[in-house]
């Protein structure tokens, strides 16, 4: 097998589908680090041409990690809707792109189509799409999910309140949480990244969040983002927990390096449904991010975009409430600068939506990257225009525990204002009841966390 094409008077040849996929990627430092990136701008475009002519059937028959050796490949292929797939198996990737973008293709049709796509197909079409294509395509797809409230409502931009603290101080967590709530942040989830991954510690935090949520009757979800096994043990002890979190990767080996397997996640999902405190059936929260497979030496020579698509193929098996890429957290060896992070953020969001997921984005950067708050704000506006379900909300965008920067409480309010978006409906009603929002805009009260002094409940809640 092999592929040849002539472009700009030069002939390019590729040995495998996997090589075509890798070289068709927009430039990423992680693919260069893996030694699989295109060697020139012309070779990159030549690979895109070849990829655009491949059929979906060829992509299904050539997963980047073989069916026999990888549980993620097996899960994705076994879950493929055969009927949907057989109707499109002869389409080329170019035809798939144009079908997605066609005005006559409604978003609902894309949701149906997604069941007939493997992650390699999702990745392939992404590689031949421009940034604007990715915005237009993702913008058509609405994916809803329900835990205590429903996310993915058209016209809404939700937010994860992320009030982390460097020593897991409950008082410190609540201080940042109350400031965030006063800016209208926290409708997707109130979620803490703990410093110490122990059952006792996360139970203490979950109890405090549960009490905050109940005291003020906040229509939202709570979660502590410890390892899944820690949360499972907390659930078994009867600790209140709405969503069970886990980081995912796109290969079986990379997931093993995270200490997870498919059966373990299935067990966690069942436990969350049976013992968790969420009312609805979407009870999982997953985070992903390009490059994690290479960082654990489990990428099998595949490119980071295709592996990221496979995370979404894995995630959808569990009908999650939240999925977000943490684009920009992993470092310059995978995404070098603001330009690469913006591209990756748009790619991940589109791929998540095309995989049928209620997709959010942790638009972020670290201090050893060539990126700053301006790049991040650009990405946030682009994603909001593309219909992203949620962002993170952090005091001034500065996470004092994870030591990285992402979207701020102010950014959430600004994005809603600029693009005419609203909080999730139940949360908006709650904000109105608290006197923090009126006609979709923050009131003069907003931004003052001291309104959450609990002995003053009678004065605040009408």
């Amino acid at each position: 097998m092999g592929f040849k094409t002539t472009l700009l008077g030069q002939t390019f040849s590729f040995k495998t589908v996997k090589e075509v996929l890798a070289k068709a990627n927009e430039e990423k430092s992680g693919d260069v680090l893996a030694g699989i990136a295109a060697g020139s701008a012309a070779e990159r475009v030549a690979a895109k041409y070849v990829l655009s002519r491949l059929t979906l059937n060829e992509l299904r028959n050539n997963p980047v990690v073989p069916y026999e050796t990888d549980a993620v490949t097996r899960l994705i292929d076994d879950n493929l809707d055969r009927e949907v797939f057989s109707a499109i198996s002869n389409w080329t990737v170019a035809e798939l792109r144009e079908y997605i973008l066609d005005d006559h293709t409604p978003g609902q049709a894309l949701v149906g189509l997604s069941r007939g796509l493997t992650s390699e197909m999702v990745a392939a079409v992404t590689k031949i799409m421009s940034n604007m294509d990715l915005i237009v395509g993702a913008g058509k797809i609405n994916i809803q999910a329900t835990a205590n409230t429903t996310i993915g409502v058209p016209g809404a931009l939700a937010s994860r309140l992320q009030p982390n603290h460097p020593t897991d101080s409950v008082a410190g967590i609540l201080a940042s949480a109350e400031e965030g709530l006063s800016y209208g942040v926290g409708d997707a989830v109130i979620g803490i990244n703990p410093v110490e991954d122990s059952v006792d510690n996360i139970s203490r935090i979950l109890e405090a969040l549960h009490e905050l949520k109940n005291y003020w009757q906040i229509p939202t979800q709570i979660c502590v983002l410890a390892h899944v096994t820690t949360q499972m043990e907390a659930l078994r002890r009867g600790v209140p927990c709405d969503l069970v979190f886990q980081s995912l990767a796109g290969t079986e080996a990379a997931n093993r390096s995270f200490g997870i397997t498919v059966p373990l996640l299935e067990e966690a999902c069942e436990l969350a449904k049976n013992k968790g405190t969420a009312a609805g059936n979407n009870v999982m929260y997953f985070e992903t991010g390009q490059g994690s497979e290479l960082s654990s030496h489990s990428h099998h020579g595949a490119d980071q975009l295709t592996l990221e698509a496979r995370c979404y193929g894995l995630a959808r098996h569990f009908n999650p409430f939240l999925v977000n890429t943490v684009v920009g957290f992993i470092g310059p060896e995978y995404l070098y600068d603001g330009r690469q992070v913006i591209r990756a953020g748009l790619e991940d969001h589109f791929m998540g939506k095309l995989s049928g997921l209620p997709m959010g984005v942790d638009a972020c950067y670290t201090n050893h990257m060539k990126m700053d708050q301006n790049d991040l704000e650009n990405l946030a506006v682009l994603l909001s225009a593309a219909g992203v379900n949620y962002f993170m909300g952090i005091p001034m965008g500065d996470d004092v525990m994870l030591n990285y920067q992402c979207t701020s409480y102010h950014d959430i309010a600004s994005l809603r204002g600029v693009l005419g978006l609203k909080p999730l409906p139940a949360f908006e009603k709650w904000l109105e009841k608290m006197g923090l929002m009126q006609n979709g805009r923050l009131t003069r009260r907003a931004g003052d966390p001291s309104i959450f002094q609990r002995s003053r409940v009678g004065r605040v809640v009408s």
Binding site: P166, T167, R256, F258, S296, G331, N367, I394, M396, G397
Partner: protein
């Protein structure tokens, strides 16, 4: 002490003071429309500038000499290569390997590595408090320890390469964390039980946020010694350790 904030007329000033005291996060900042005030916006940019600059710093020779630490290097040649080639930061240089092969023959229980990682300032700020306290802690548990070594441009999984030339049960690395805006002085300690070619991220135990505003270095040293003692007893670290302790 009264904490600064910019909220013009807080509903409950005393409660606001409690909140400000509880976290180093940037709260009580107020807004102009939906945007931050100018002073907070510029403070943020100043802190980001400091963090970017600290990534490029180096640990002083005086500190390392004062603690009597041999200085080795990974296969990384400079800071730029360090940032884009983590694979090279996980391997000792030829000279580094030779040092261990010549100096350590007998087996001891712990090998401690110290590396600048992404923040030289983190090592500068914490190491002189941490190191003697950690050594005392190990002595308390009667745990034997090889001579600690500084390795420039290291990554956490450098421990797996060190384990190929050092006979020990537990390998520990103290490493400068990626600087945040609150501090560029935060250090992490990772430990792993007898790493091999099959070792994975989940096999590591971590103690992070070691600095004066997080877990202070002396306290962290005692905690780490306790963790090392536990790992030696159960002969496992990371997620597999958690599963073992959950079953107990």
């Amino acid at each position: 002490m009264k904490y600064r904030h910019h909220i013009p007329a807080p509903q409950d000033s005393a409660y606001l003071q409690q909140l400000l005291q509880a976290t180093p996060a940037r709260i009580g900042v107020w807004r102009s429309g939906t945007r931050p005030l100018t002073c907070d916006l510029l403070k943020f940019r100043a802190d980001h500038a400091a963090a970017q600059d600290s990534v490029n710093g180096t640990v002083s020779e005086e500190l390392l000499a004062g603690l009597d630490l041999p200085v080795l290097q990974t296969m990384v040649r400079d800071k730029d290569e360090y940032l884009t080639r983590p694979d090279l930061g996980r391997k000792l240089s030829t000279t580094g390997k030779a040092y261990f092969q010549q100096s350590t023959s007998e087996k001891r229980q712990v090998q401690l590595i110290i590396s600048d990682g992404l923040s030289a300032q983190a090592i500068e700020a914490n190491l002189s408090d941490f190191l003697p306290a950690f050594q005392l802690g190990l002595a308390y548990y009667r745990i034997s320890c090889h001579r600690p070594v500084f390795v420039k441009y290291g990554r956490v999984r450098l421990l797996e390469d060190v384990a190929t030339v050092v006979a020990a049960e537990v390998f520990v690395i103290l490493i400068g964390e990626r600087p945040g805006l609150v501090t560029a002085k935060s250090m992490s300690a990772y430990l792993v039980y007898q790493p091999t070619a099959d070792t994975m991220d989940a096999d590591y135990l971590v103690l992070s946020n070691i600095y004066s505003g997080g877990t202070p270095p002396v306290e962290a040293a005692a905690q780490l010694a306790r963790m090392v003692n536990h790992v030696i007893q159960v002969k496992s670290s990371g997620v597999s350790l958690k599963l073992i302790t959950l079953k107990e």
